[in-house]
């Protein structure tokens, strides 16, 4: 499903250059559950951002569903994000002025899903993630765990094939963190391809495939074991 071939991404800060991704090649099949670990600054987030089409790679090839993403135009990349990719961030990134329901409806609103259908799908996602009673709350009225569930609902409401989670439990206590991970794993068991960046070795070891990154390279990949 995903094919990375010698992907590079370099950031320039002043006259210093950082090879955040240094010729990374990776093959991921539909329905895999992968954890990405590694020291801070090793390029884990950069890898996820590239997979999520949130930034452009400098060189190499990234094929998603046999489509070479480097050849896509900006609107096509946006459409691909909308249709195939769900993202969960450490910092939730909910829009503070919108209620939980409105935040969850946002991706559907952007593609013009009619309000009634939107509402129904959002209700479904919220019920599933156990936040149905918080539908009309603003993000600041929610706990961290609840916010991350709203963000998760928003990420999956369009039924993407690929769910990318960048330290989704980084801001949560271990209990609500575990709950969020349970939910994510449940989604994976239903077929969604899952990549989770985490610092927690225990969480990381729950994945079927474990990737470790160091200095922008893949240092180990358990699929090869």
């Amino acid at each position: 499903m995903i094919e990375l071939d010698k992907v590079c991404k370099t950031f320039y800060l002043g006259d210093q250059s950082v090879h955040a991704l240094d010729s990374v090649s990776l093959h991921i099949n539909q329905g895999e559950y992968i954890s990405v670990m590694g020291p801070s600054g090793s390029g884990k987030s950069t890898l996820l951002n590239m997979l999520g089409l949130l930034d452009q790679i400098d060189s190499g090839r990234y094929c998603l569903d046999t489509v070479d993403t480097t050849t896509l135009s900006e609107p096509e990349r946006a459409a691909t994000r909308s249709e195939k990719i769900g993202f969960v961030f450490q910092a939730y990134h909910l829009i503070p002025r919108l209620s939980a329901r409105e935040n969850i409806e946002l991706p559907m609103m952007l593609v013009g899903v009619p309000p009634k259908e939107r509402r129904h799908l959002a209700e479904q996602a919220m019920t599933r993630l156990g936040i149905a009673d918080r539908a009309d709350h603003l993000p600041r009225q929610l706990s961290g765990g609840q916010r991350q569930r709203v963000a998760l609902a928003r990420a999956i409401v369009r039924r993407p094939k690929l769910l990318l989670a960048d330290e989704p439990t980084g801001n949560l206590d271990s209990r609500s963190g575990a709950e969020v991970i349970d939910l994510i794993e449940e989604l994976n068991s239903e077929g969604i391809t899952l990549l989770v960046v985490t610092h927690d070795p225990q969480l990381g070891s729950r994945a079927h495939r474990k990737i470790t990154m160091v200095d922008g390279r893949i240092a180990s990949d358990s699929s090869g074991e």
């Binding site: 089409l53 946006a78 459409a79 994000r81 829009i95 952007l110």
Partner: protein
């Protein structure tokens, strides 16, 4: 994205970022109101002046001593005072020129008018019975002067209604009563109706006496001006030339009078005041632009604050064009609401102003609100465009991490 969702999303952010929206609405609203109110004042002033002068018919000319009084040219370098226009000349003009149907000579001054123990300082206008015809003045009581001789100085007078009320109070008998104007005695033969003619003078508080009598009271040979009614047939230009030639001949070849046609006066007034209104409108439009700059600052701050929102929308699948559309629409909607509030404010101000200045019709020229609203929306668009363009150019993750 459905249009209705687009509008709702924009409205929602306007409502939920209250302070910022209030600032935008205030800036745009005041700008638009300024344009509309100022141009309405300018245009109201223009219309007021036009109305004041429009009583003068197309067939009326004024002959003034001195050259080029109305064009504001410098007096002759020789320092020689312009020669008077005399009563004889007025008489001759009417006698000799077929183009001149009638002439009303005018002498103006102020003097104390007394009746029994009441006295009042008023405008004294010396003229003839022709004045009432030429200026289309009507009488509330009594009759006009009847003497056919322009030099007549019979002891008669016409008074305005205000003067009548001041001097005679409730007393019914006015016609035939004796008045004293300085040391000239006369009896009232009629009362002018209403405010009389305008031209800056209110004839309701004035007394009208034969021109020869006025010359004696004010001890002058010269006339303030002649008001001439033209005979039909000749063009105003031709008649003006004929009158000017005759006056020059009377003055031994010296062209030292000015003939003014109210028509020319009106159109130059109209022009000047029209330009003034336009100028005021321009100034006000500048204030609207200033409002636009304010909007830009607010847009800069808000887009800066909401760069993460832009990144998020992109991460959720919005294209750059879609994000730009969302933010620009928000700006246009706020400009539009601001402009509407501004128009409302202008309307209220104009209604209040009309109550304070009843003489003035305060209506902005049609272009003013259109231009104001147009500039407001254009400014909203242009000034929101810059920061939005900047923010949307970032990769989604970069925008997201800025917040």
């Amino acid at each position: 994205m459905r249009s209705w969702d687009l509008v709702l999303f924009s409205l929602q952010s306007l409502i939920r970022y209250r302070f910022r929206s209030a600032m935008v609405l205030l800036a745009i609203g005041l700008g638009v109101a300024a344009v509309v109110v100022l141009t309405a004042l300018g245009d109201g002033a223009r219309r007021y002046v036009m109305d004041e002068f429009s009583f003068l018919g197309k067939d009326i000319l004024a002959v003034l001593p001195g050259r080029n009084e109305t064009t504001g040219g410098l007096p002759p370098v020789t320092g020689v005072a312009a020669r008077d226009i005399t009563l004889d000349e007025a008489y001759l003009l009417k006698q000799r020129l077929p183009a001149v149907l009638d002439v009303a000579p005018m002498v103006v001054g102020s003097a104390e008018v007394s009746y029994q123990d009441r006295a009042r300082e008023v405008l004294v206008l010396g003229s003839t019975g022709s004045l009432l015809d030429i200026r289309q003045l009507s009488l509330a009581q009594g009759r006009n002067f009847t003497a056919s001789d322009i030099r007549d100085s019979s002891e008669e007078c016409l008074i305005g209604e205000t003067l009548r009320d001041e001097l005679f109070g409730a007393s019914a008998k006015v016609i035939g009563e004796n008045l004293r104007i300085a040391d000239y005695r006369c009896h009232v033969i009629g009362v002018l109706a209403g405010r009389g003619d305008a031209m800056g003078t209110d004839l309701s508080d004035a007394v009208l006496i034969p021109v020869a009598a006025a010359q004696r009271i004010f001890n002058t040979q010269g006339l303030f001006r002649l008001v001439v009614r033209l005979a039909p047939g000749l063009s105003v230009e031709r008649s003006t030339a004929l009158i000017l030639a005759a006056m020059t001949q009377f003055h031994q070849g010296e062209e030292d009078v000015t003939v003014v046609s109210p028509d020319a006066m009106l159109s130059s007034f109209d022009q000047v005041l029209g330009v003034m209104t336009l100028g005021v409108g321009l100034i006000a439009s500048v204030s609207l632009l200033v409002a636009g700059v304010l909007v830009m600052n607010i847009a800069l701050i808000s887009v800066g604050q909401r760069t993460d929102e832009i990144g998020l929308l992109k991460a959720l699948g919005a294209s750059t064009a879609q994000v730009a559309k969302i933010f620009l629409l928000e700006s246009v909607i706020s400009s539009f609401i601001g402009a509407a509030l501004g128009l409302l404010l202008a309307l209220i101000i104009l209604i209040l102003a009309t109550q304070i200045l009843p003489g003035l019709t305060l209506r902005p020229p049609l272009w003013a609100p259109l231009v104001a609203v147009g500039i407001a929306i254009a400014a909203g668009l242009v000034f929101a465009w810059l920061p939005v363009k900047k923010a949307t150019a970032l990769a989604p993750i970069q925008a997201l991490q800025k917040g």
